[in-house]
Assembly symmetry: D2
Homo-oligomer: 394 residues x 4
């Protein structure tokens, strides 16, 4: 039931619209929509979700914010050179990229923004609202896919929506990190929000409360695309076989913008925390789990991760396993961004509000659940999505 002649179009608003993941998602959406390429990697096209009330690919309109100026076409060309987008795909989607480029507005950058954070929220919310009106969209899903932020220090106002609203209006206060400003703006505009990064986003009590008040759902955090995806099938294997994991060491080598960003240890700490909790949750606290992320520019978007697992079996005998993963992060992430757009839109249409825990399948650090087993998460996902009812008249 992925296509319906009655479906109104929806919007996908990307915060970080000119980044690698967003550019790949946009290019791919255009190519899949026009049947240039199959939708490989899109979970929502799985037969297991065929009863979910999802809008067809052709009914998704894209816009977004970014603080960088390189236009989408240029970014797509760079991704062709890096092996992320196949060359033959580019030419037929150029016109579509240019159209979406015209829907990209300047994002929020605390270093250059002149007014209060409340002003910033208003401007972003207004950009999103205009986009919705201009295209007559039933709803718009806001997805944060901007660069990972460093951890943001807690503030007293993070616990209460009214106090937060007041604080945002104070001059010279930085109450929220940019990802949370975006989440706030989404909620203020009545839009669902997805955080595909480990940044703070909507994960503050005040923002959760705001989403509930505004009647919108949200999902996150930190898309699960490579090493962690593997861990969420391998760790349960050891668990169900009653094999005792002693240590699980890992190293990630990557270049590109992501590699450069994560070279800052303060920023990397956000990612490392999100990744580490997965093993602890699946295997317990006792597993020694050193983890490294290294910037290796020559690898570009072709990330290589190596994991070494040491475990104990019957009679205490030691054994080991190693995994090497050579994946392209943008390629792995982009279809999930599209999937989440369809799924969160369907949740919103069905009246869901607050965190959608059933989307844990997509995330390293799923909001509202400690279920990390990919198999269990997939059952949660399919049960939830196939049971969604669209409101009457749709």
């Amino acid at each position: 039931m992925t296509a319906s002649s009655h479906a109104s179009p929806i919007g996908l608003w990307l915060n970080g619209a000119r980044g690698s993941v967003a550019t790949t998602a946009i290019t791919g959406l255009l190519a899949v929509r026009d049947n240039l390429m199959p939708s490989t990697g899109c979970v929502t096209d799985s037969p297991a979700l065929d009863r979910a009330p999802l809008v067809p690919w052709s009914e998704i309109v894209v816009g977004g914010h970014d603080i960088l100026g390189t236009p989408l076409e240029k970014r797509a060309e760079m991704l062709v050179d890096n092996g992320v987008i196949p060359r033959p795909v580019l030419s037929p989607v150029r016109r579509g990229l240019a159209a979406i480029e015209r829907e990209v507005r300047t994002g929020y950058d605390p270093a250059t923004h002149p007014g209060t954070q409340a002003d910033a929220v208003d401007r972003l919310a207004s950009d999103i609202g205009d986009f919705r009106s201009r295209h007559g969209l039933e709803r718009v899903v806001v997805v944060n896919i901007a660069s990972t932020e460093a951890p943001f220090p807690g503030q007293p106002e993070h616990g209460d929506p009214d106090a937060m609203a007041a604080a945002l209006s104070q001059p010279d206060r930085l109450v929220l990190p940019p990802s949370s400003v975006v989440a706030y703006a989404a909620f203020q505009a009545g839009c669902p929000f997805v955080d595909f990064t480990p940044s703070t986003g909507a994960r503050l009590p005040a923002l959760t409360a705001l989403a509930q008040r505004r009647g919108v759902p949200f999902a996150g955090s930190d898309g699960k695309t490579g090493e962690t995806l593997l861990r969420t099938v391998l760790a349960p294997m050891f668990a169900v076989r009653q094999l005792r994991v002693l240590s699980w060491a890992g190293i990630n080598l990557l270049g590109g913008g992501d590699g450069a960003t994560l070279e800052d240890p303060h920023i990397a700490s956000s990612k490392l925390t999100s990744k580490s909790s997965v093993l602890q949750s699946l295997l317990g606290e006792d597993v020694k789990a050193p983890l490294h992320i290294d910037n290796v520019p020559d690898l570009g978007d072709h990330k290589t991760a190596w994991d070494h697992v040491s475990f104990e079996g019957f009679l205490g005998v030691r054994m080991s396993m190693q995994v090497t993963w050579c994946g392209v992060d943008s390629t792995l992430a982009a279809p999930l961004v599209l999937d989440l757009t369809r799924l969160v839109a369907a949740g919103h249409a069905a009246g869901q509000r607050g965190p959608i825990t059933q989307l844990a399948f997509f995330f390293k650090d799923p909001i509202g659940t400690s279920e990390h087993s990919l198999a269990a998460q997939f059952r949660m996902l399919t049960a939830w999505a196939n049971a969604l009812d669209r409101p009457p008249g749709l």
Copy 2:
């Protein structure tokens, strides 16, 4: 509910009682029973199975057949030298090993057996029946863990139990391979049967019919302990993420008796067939999947497997994954042999007959089901085992 003061003891009859897996299982059972070692690797001690009506470890009595003469204590010493059994475990279980050694009878070897195969069945069944009576056992589970056989050519009588019974009595006929003679003897003695090897065992229509007639269950085939275990979690990961696997190449290096046996390509073909069907079932027919097994004597029981997976994601981008598995086959297999004994005994007690498809979790080539996903198999297992009711009075 793993312990019950009312539980009658059961028997475990090992065909191949002096092999590496059997010796490890016996040594481990003795050590776990006396609290010398935790039961790491035993799935039936998982909290997920705590409602299953399983006999406690202390209520399992062991005997068996073997065609080789090296006694269990000597075999256990060899396994200590090979790093499969920790040295400190040996001394406290020596007396127990000697006691079980006295329960081992000469197995069936077609090269030396003088009479018809019906005679062989009678003798084996009689050995098992005597063991049951002598120890006052409620039931005996027969587990085949002898060396893998070469594929056995089909015979007309394989389809019908009466024709088979007649053929077995004919002089100079080899109607069945040894593993099937053992299965036949188990059924004739009213005992459940487990085939932990890829040999023919009970997988003939005539034997399935015989099990039904005798009211006994059976399970198999080919214990899933290493590379294939990994494949049954990794392949479903690619499937649920809609990533298209293009090829999945593998190589297994192993020494020990298993390595020497599998150096014979005819025998190895049994194993390779069993392993290959798993990927086809999980990923479809199109995956190119070369697979090798090499005898590397210096590795002994420390098997090393390497898998290379090539797959395609969004927009057709190619990626790859490699896994290296360094496992000790006997260590991985032994606790599963003990688990299957408890589970099949519980099934028998609950009145099950014929193939128990819900035990697919343990096997590379599960009888009666094409479900190969480990996560799905574990759900089948726990649902089945936790719902078993023991007959009144137990």
Copy 3:
């Protein structure tokens, strides 16, 4: 001394001129000559060889034979699509490819060739001689880079040049495999010969004698580009450290034309023999060394090899090492073909005849020497090449 204003141009005649390695070598020669790309991978541009009297890249003219008809430009486009030739290189060399395409003649195919093998030799030698005259070349190096042949059965005439000459003229006799027909033609035309494949080529006593008679040198066999290259540095490491290698298992996964060719076990046996002798020579006969080559079409030219080495150290302690090599065979082979052309030409100019053992550095199965250590081979190479004197007047 790689450039000399007096140098006369030389020829490179490729048997298999439209194959992947040849197309890459030709494209690269054109690109390097015009300073479009650095000569990465070309050993002869190493400072360690700066006293060798080598012709400059600009003084090499290319022609060749092939039995397949796809023209070089088309082949180069295919290699762009496969990631072997970078797209930006193609356009500026198109004109050069077309010019070389005009120098390619139909190769010798025993299945379609109408006359005797002597006729075939005459035709091939005549093609090469015409090429030399037409371009006023000082000398022409013939390099066989055609698909690997199956082992060719020995013939009585292989031992003597006169008997061979007589046999080649007999109708309906296949005295030589195609690679040896090419070597014969090269020698008949007075040209040095290089066999970059494991095919028979010049490795017959009668052909060695012929080369001596004609005063031409030759080199081979089987270019050392990936897994074997690694082995020739790793095995000596174990040897000099007195560590005892117990086993060295390997698997090669590759697609492309090479993968398809080697899927035939008879043909693969040529390659496997050549590869295995390396370890035996470096480590002795006792090392268990299973080796596999699998055709995995999706990998194309991106070959992946995995080696597992088990070894013993002080007090008999066991350790292991694994290597994964992801290489592009044509990329690795092409610069060596160009290197060999320059080096063999220099040897010819210096009056060498018969096998040049000092080129062992380039080969898996070097003619005339059992030295397999890469470091020792490099010393042999540099000592030899730097000491070559060009004849007076050059």
Copy 4:
């Protein structure tokens, strides 16, 4: 020429005599001497060194310093449990271990030593001198194999032996780190010194001058046993093939005392610096080379290292290689300690003084040379050792 009936015995004085490497070296020396085990891993038993004037194994007497009190027999038992020493070796060498244990004196610990560093030097030198006299030894080689120290801050007196002598006598001054106190004591006692660790040892101008004055040689630093050993054969392979290495990332997982020591980032920095310089020297400054050392206690002495190399070939095509090394550090290091004892003693006997650069083969950070290629180092070693002449009368 490894045995000579005239040879006087020599001494091996181990600083860190009760550590894992020392205990393994001592146990192995006893076992090899009594022909219980072959000398696998001992480079000096290679045929390539058969003209070097080396004392036989039976003519080496062992003593040493340590600041820890666990006796050698107990340490050897622990190493048996950890798989470093085979159990059957222990029993026949117990008596020998006890005899050597009686030759171990309390080492220098700045935290507990009461007097000046000059006092410490005097005491250590006196212990060594007494050992030499007591056993009538021709010479004693002092080898530092104690735990790696953190980098020690430079002091003005490090440049001049007289200033250093004066400073050492000042109360409350810590002029030298413990490893350098040991080197000083060795030189004061007229003994050659080897630093098998990355600690400062003799690598200060004042100590080099002192060695020259006293007429004794020294060697170091940081034994090359695993990942770095591999790098010194693999990096030259890329270099001679003119392949351009872009990045070389590495991770080391290890437990045991070494793992615990290196968990301190300050101490680890000594090791990381020593390891990194190797790649820079072999491949140039441009190679991105992140490197990690992680303490993974469950691995014990079984260290696992993983290296990922990304490189560029002809026409700029990217390729990669990965190596996994599973080695036992003490097993790899111990025979080299014994080799160095024989070689440095031979150098001393031949009248060498100051740094012996020809021993670079053994070290990650060889003193006095920038030659890091293992093959080149082995040639230097054999040329030097085979040319040593023992003084007349020996």
